[in-house]
Symmetry: C2
Subunit: 426 residues, 2 copies
């Protein structure tokens, strides 16, 4: 095969060891937080009957879906998100599942999207959802869980923007938007950050909101709030204000202070019904929101035919990884703790014993398989980001000793082989 | 959508929370062992250019591969195993990768196979490979790593069958097999366990091995060995005997005693070049080998055009999970540690504080969102396999107390709310 064809498909990536390890560590830390909040894993297949996924994502989504006919003449599709399969699961196993269902799923999805600006065709979603409860505590728990996940990834500086779709809908209605244009207007407002207020005003005008309406709209959208009481007072005439105030109050009870009520927050997706939120990194605003979600009480019931309340959040792990890399917050874990060097074929038994003992103590140990010059082995250890080298030549072996070289500092210490575990474990 | 269509594709599965959690725990334990042995993760995409995968798995594999033309008119295929993508990675990044590459990958693959007998069309492979070393220590490390993974899963009773393809080839050659029939003969011998010696003899006769040859063949195949010396003596005339003896010797140095030299072990795949092994559970022989692998020095170089030695092993995680379930060795972790009950809307703030504190202490905590009868909440906890319920009614609240009910024993204890973390953590 020609060398030029050795490549991944456009929008698909390999993760070589260091990067794969960093991602695995991120997933691990996130999972710990998700489980602390009482969420449990749920796994669904990569392929579904196309019928399950079709017609759920709008015309645009339909075009981006990887779909094909399998050899059994079934029309199938690769999952496009983790939410529609969740809805299928809820309907299919309604008698087995304990409600409310609190599930997480960290898994790849596929969209044949254009690949500009760090968008990939294969990317991970990292979702938590509470299905079957309309309690606003569930909304706050999702937000708290997202926030704690970021904290677990050592991100200390982030802002949670919160809003309520009902308020946005009501404000729009008050501004005189023509019937049936609300969703379009929400999409326009969602672009506020990107295109600025002037252009949003223009586009809202095109949708039929008059000058006075636009003025009123932005006046209230740009309002600030002192406290929950202030929210209730200033938004008294709008449906959803009480919910938003309650949300804020409970967030404070969870100890979350880095929130920001932002009435301009719209979230592009049209299935949200009340609470919406997103999380941004002030130090890396160019990555946009790195987590977000909200309540969507009309979506999960699509297969069972009756509404099932649900609220969820999602961490954009690929975007987040890029942002963390830029902020130098990605910590590549040491790839292995120790390299046991191999200087003398005759000492193989000793090397194997030492390797075995260090592994038994839980250390990550690499062994250099074939005896070679020490220099070459230390270079290998360096390239693999290994912290310590255990060096045993015939002199050391004769005295049951070993030299431990700290590859970060260059310092080396001689010790009894029996002391290796204790010294390297600490 | 009609209810009947709410289903996964044939050969595809959902994993509901308990089962998903058990699998996640298995993966986690296996990863810890893989890393202790110095292996690192490597991730490749689910979709590849069809050209990369085509022609690598024989006619049968070709038929079972999920392949299609995407909207960009590219011929693509879903990965069929993790080894061919690994070979692509090795060729594509040869200047970046530190050799020997020790990588693991735990990921699903897809084969449109018939779905009898616990065979699925989407299933996980759990592979470790050492690429770029011809040291027999690498062979033993793969075997040791597989064995320790099983131990980490609390499997104490397993047998590692080992052999060397060179010996099998040489024995076959000695038996007078016609040129070009060796691979067929290996496939026949591989079925020994399933179809018995008599039928294997028949099939070998059909391949052209004469009566005397078949007799010689089975005499040596059925030979037993006392020790490594015995191997070298009895197999003196066969190429590969020295390698097998060395393999056994090093396994013993790793502390592995539950091996069995089995000259009838063939492993179906024809790409193995020397060491081969598989692991069986004597208590669940019906599941066949639950792990296996070997050395394949001619495969990884297929894209780079030069041979690159490699050895690897794979745990059949789906088969293993079924076997463990049957042996009652699957331990479903407690789904959450604690349920904080919700008896009185007025006490919400207290409940949230207690929930927050318990989570901050690292406990897995579920909170009952809406106040309800205690009975109903305890039933929920029971269904979700939760260990403790924290019960705070208005009486307890007035005294800053809480009742902790152990849901396994039914015992309940009253304590100060400030003592909850300490008591529940232990």
């Amino acid at each position: 095969m020609a060398k030029k064809n050795l490549q991944t498909l456009k929008g698909f990536r390999d993760f070589l060891p260091e990067q794969a390890l960093a991602r695995e560590e991120m997933f691990k830390k996130i999972r710990v937080v998700f489980q602390k909040y009482g969420f449990l894993p749920l796994e669904t297949p990569v392929l579904e009957y196309k019928e399950i996924l079709a017609g759920k994502y709008g015309d645009e989504g339909e075009k981006l879906m990887y779909q094909f006919r399998d050899r059994g003449e079934r029309d199938v599709a690769m999952r496009y998100d983790l939410t529609v399969p969740l809805a299928r699961v809820v309907a299919q196993y309604q008698n087995e599942l304990v409600m409310p269902l609190k599930r997480y799923q960290i898994a790849p999805v596929w969209r044949a999207d254009n690949t500009q600006k760090g968008r990939y065709r294969e990317f991970y979603q990292c979702d938590v959802d509470v299905v079957g409860s309309d309690s606003i505590i569930a909304d706050t728990e999702i937000i708290a869980c997202m926030a704690e996940s970021l904290t677990a990834l050592d991100i200390t500086d982030f802002v949670i923007r919160i809003n309520n779709r009902k308020i946005l809908d009501a404000i729009l209605k008050n501004s005189g938007i023509p019937k049936g244009k609300t969703v379009d207007a929400i999409r326009v407002i969602d672009k506020l950050e990107k295109i600025g207020e002037a252009r949003v005003r223009e586009e809202l005008a095109l949708l039929g909101i008059k000058t006075k309406g636009r003025q009123d709209l932005f006046e209230i959208l740009n309002a600030g709030f002192e406290d929950t009481n202030d929210i209730e007072v200033k938004l008294a005439e709008y449906d959803g204000a009480g919910e938003l105030a309650e949300l804020v109050e409970i967030l404070l009870e969870w100890g979350i202070k880095n929130y920001q009520v932002d009435l301009t927050l719209a979230r592009g997706l049209d299935y949200y019904t009340s609470t919406i939120f997103e999380i941004i990194l002030p130090d890396a605003p160019q990555y946009g929101s790195i987590a977000g979600g909200g309540r969507y009480d009309k979506l999960i019931g699509m297969f069972s035919g009756k509404d099932i309340p649900a609220v969820g959040g999602s961490i954009g792990i690929d975007r987040l990884a890029s942002a963390l890399e830029e902020l130098e917050l990605i910590k590549y874990d040491l790839v292995s703790d120790v390299l046991v060097c191999n200087l003398d074929e005759e000492l193989e038994e000793t090397y194997l014993r030492v390797t075995k003992d260090l592994r038994a103590a839980g250390l990550k140990v690499d062994f250099y398989y074939t005896s070679d010059k020490l220099d070459k082995q230390l270079k290998y250890a360096d390239k693999k980001n290994i912290n310590f080298a255990v060096i045993i030549g015939s002199d050391e072996a004769a005295k049951n000793e070993a030299t431990v070289k700290n590859l970060m500092t260059g310092k080396q210490v001689k010790m009894k082989q029996t002391e290796l575990v204790r010294n390297l474990k600490s």
